[in-house]
């Protein structure tokens, strides 16, 4: 324990580490501020687009009024009636449009969602469909978008900002758009979380947690390599002290691991709290899409295929997702930190160590076959938890429980390897 406290004290005394933590936090907050400003700009852009439509209605009414006057002058009753109908129609449209703008501006989502739900009920019905540049939106996506809207309405949750203010789609893995349709789809389904929680959720597919973990390892995982450089030989001093090597190893390992855990927790909290720059922290009831996976084909895996009409999904509250992310994130942190610690025994340059660690994680995730017991399958925490990887691999075993097991078992094996490596290194240093 004393050794552990000593290691912690040493770490706390390093000004450079404090400075790096401060800079990371500050950068994160500045980037978050930019993000929320962008989300706000997009939201305002949506309002402006609708105001332009409103102005267009007014122009059409003016034109119709002019034509009505001419028709009255010429005693053309037919044109007069038609123009009166046009004026009435656009006057009603203006009322609706003004109500919509007012609701959207004040985040009164009830009416907007009810209208959107009615549209999506039609699109996802047997007779309906929806196409972008001639390419159909899959039934799965339409159903998911409809259910998401129902969830919003039922739980009184605000949807996040998108580049469009109507037909708010949810992006799913079932879409296979190409060309211009793909570009358009990417544009309309890009989501900008305007609360801390939705921002965090939106950034998870971009490997936010993994980046935090790697930065944490980079800052706190050098307790051995930092003391065994060409000019810094603090480790040799430790070896002549009456301290067991196991205690020395564990104290260095655990102090760094604890610091990394606290650091990652701090960054996650900061990103959620940064929602105060936007529309607040947000609701833990925000819906998170979870794929239930497709049925494996009984005639063999080569016939497996996603069936957008039949495959199922459900939504879970963001709070539940967050809990799982934090737990699996801890598992991944343990695995990554152990790997970094092992590599740092052999590589003195911490920049190379972090790049090699990142390379192994990324390489393992992309090259190794996806499997329930492969820890690299769970590097992409978001897609492992929302069932995306399990659905694409037709392997329902890929999920939270197996992920935690794989990460902890393999992480422990790597830790043991690091322990053996430390003993070998200590002998070499002594020699």
């Amino acid at each position: 324990m004393r050794q552990f406290l000593f290691e912690n004290k040493k770490m706390m005394k390093k000004k450079s580490v404090w400075a790096a933590v401060f800079i990371t936090l500050l950068s994160l907050l500045v980037l978050s501020y930019f993000h929320f400003s962008a989300a706000d700009r997009i939201r305002n852009g949506n309002i402006v687009k609708q105001e332009n439509v409103l102005a267009q209605y007014k122009i059409w009414i003016e034109d119709a009024e002019t034509e009505l006057q001419i028709a009255e002058k010429n005693s053309d009753a037919e044109t007069g009636d038609a123009m009166a109908a046009v004026i009435e129609k656009y006057t009603q449209s203006i009322v609706n449009q003004e109500k919509w703008i007012s609701d959207y501006t004040q985040r009164e989502w009830k009416t907007i969602l009810e209208e959107d739900i009615a549209d999506f009920e039609l699109y996802s019905s047997e007779d309906g469909s929806m196409a972008i540049e001639g390419q159909r939106v899959k039934s799965f996506t339409l159903r998911a978008a409809l259910e998401e809207k129902r969830w919003f309405l039922k739980n009184g949750i605000d949807p996040v900002v998108q580049n469009t203010s109507y037909n708010l789609f949810v992006p799913t893995i079932y879409e296979d758009f190409t060309g211009r349709a793909l570009d358009y789809w990417k544009q309309v389904t890009a989501r900008y979380g305007d609360t801390g929680l939705t921002y965090f959720y939106g950034m998870m597919p971009n490997f936010l947690m993994q980046i935090f973990i790697l930065i944490g390892c980079f800052l706190f995982g050098n307790s051995i390599s930092g003391e065994s450089g060409k000019k810094k030989k603090g480790l040799q001093l430790h070896f002549v002290q009456p301290v067991s090597k196991t205690a020395l190893f564990l104290s260095k390992y655990v102090s760094g691991l604890t610091a990394t855990l606290i650091f990652v927790g701090l960054l996650v909290s900061a990103i959620i709290m940064s929602g105060e720059f936007g529309n607040g922290i947000g609701s833990l009831e925000y819906p998170v899409l979870v794929y239930e996976g497709a049925e494996p084909n009984p005639y063999g895996s080569e016939f497996n295929a996603l069936i957008p009409e039949n495959d199922q999904f459900h939504f879970i509250p963001l709070g539940e997702y967050l809990k799982d992310v934090l737990m699996m994130g801890s598992g991944l942190l343990f695995f990554t930190y152990s790997l970094y610690f092992l590599l740092a025994l052999g590589i003195r340059n911490q920049s190379i160590t972090i790049l090699v660690t990142g390379g192994i994680l990324f390489g393992g995730m992309t090259i190794l076959p996806v499997s329930a017991y492969n820890p690299f399958t769970y590097v992409d925490i978001h897609r492992a938890l929302n069932g995306e990887i399990a659905t694409i691999a037709f392997n329902p075993a890929i999920g939270f429980q197996h992920g935690m097991l794989a990460l902890f078992v393999v992480g422990t094996a790597v830790l043991l390897a690091a322990f053996i490596g430390f003993h070998v290194k200590s002998r070499n240093v002594a020699a």
């Binding site: 400075a19 800079i23 980037l31 930019f34 001639g134 911490q350 920049s351 972090i354």
Partner: protein
């Protein structure tokens, strides 16, 4: 760093070679999907015509049948590897598909995309070049383009700078600077020397990157004549030949390297610690990436050019003015670094 670069280029090239048959299989699968779509409509139209003969429907069926036959011919050309037939038949398919849509047929590929492909195929036929999968080609200029997209971007540059950064920060961490600063050389000169040294290292790395990406396919695969004239689609709808693309990519990458080394020199001499400078560089490039993602890809923003491929493809009109921005910002950063370290000592 060089070993890692060569390993990446080698691995990617082997992957591309192995993917050549997959590219053909995927093309067949792609057009088979469309043929199935048209065939289903033709079947339904035939049944409807038997029940109620309609001129409009008959016209649609005629075009549909022609389209189905053309798609079939196109698939056969792909299977036989007859690339000239393939290009011509693809043009015919799209012309018929546009007509098919006009008679209310469903062909789920946008007219804009079809127009663009027709123009590309016509250009390729003129040049006598087969169509390449841009992301999986083994032809030298297109392979270079793939490497440029993969390496010369914010992520690749951050990795490069984190690795190079230790050249400056280690001097402070190992306290070599205490000795160096006793030499009768002005501190600003030392900053400039470091900048030049890093720039030279970066230039060597760049030349290895481009040479290896060119030589590997050029020496192992038969290059097509006029392959450097291969037309690449730009965001503004026009084409740029692959040779010009590579020239611009080389020039831009030197500019971007200059800018990146400028950032590194400033951050390295200000922070003097590996972890701090690495974190700052990560934050700077992440911020730059975010600014571009949020629509700040403007002429004066140096981060617009950090993703070299996107700068050439999406902002063709920024060349060569963008270089002035990169050189200007690099000069300012270097000047600040030299001025900042003028009176700052080492503890």
């Amino acid at each position: 760093m060089l070993a890692g670069t060569l390993l990446l280029i080698g691995t990617l090239f082997i992957r591309n070679v192995m993917q050549q048959d997959v590219v053909r299989a995927e093309k067949i699968e792609w057009f088979s999907g469309y043929m199935q779509e048209v065939a289903t409509q033709n079947r339904t139209d035939r049944q409807m015509l038997q029940e109620t003969p309609l001129e409009e429907l008959e016209q649609k069926l005629d075009v549909g049948v022609a389209l189905q036959n053309q798609l079939n011919g196109l698939i056969l050309s792909i299977e036989n590897g007859a690339w000239e037939d393939e290009l011509q038949q693809e043009i015919d398919v799209y012309l018929t598909a546009i007509d098919y849509k006009e008679v209310k047929g469903n062909y789920s590929f946008s007219n804009g995309d079809m127009d663009e492909t027709i123009r590309l195929n016509e250009q390729l036929l003129l040049l006598g070049l087969p169509k390449e999968d841009i992301g999986r080609s083994v032809q030298p200029p297109l392979f270079i383009k793939q490497i440029v997209s993969l390496v010369l971007n914010p992520f690749g540059l951050t990795v490069l700078l984190v690795l190079l950064g230790t050249v400056i920060t280690r001097e402070f961490e190992d306290r070599n600077m205490q000795m160096v600063y006793t030499f009768p050389i002005p501190k600003w000169k030392y900053v400039f020397v470091k900048f030049t040294g890093l720039l030279l290292t970066g230039l060597i790395w760049l030349s290895v990157l481009f040479s290896a990406s060119y030589l590997l396919p050029a020496l192992t695969v038969e290059s097509k004549e006029l392959i450097f004239d291969y037309p690449l689609s730009l965001a503004n709808g026009s084409f740029l030949d692959a040779g010009t693309y590579i020239n611009e990519a080389c020039i831009y990458s030197v500019g971007v390297l200059l800018f990146a080394i400028g950032v590194l020199t400033l951050v390295g001499f200000m922070a003097r610690q590996t972890i701090i400078s690495s974190v700052v560089i990560l934050a700077v490039f992440a911020g730059g990436w975010m600014s571009i993602r949020n629509g700040m890809d403007l002429l004066w923003n140096p981060f617009t050019y950090v993703n070299v491929n996107e700068a050439i493809i999406n902002h063709a009109d920024y060349f060569p003015t963008g270089l002035i921005v990169l050189f200007g910002v690099a000069a300012v950063l270097l000047a600040i670094a030299m001025w900042g370290s003028r009176k700052r000592g080492v503890s």
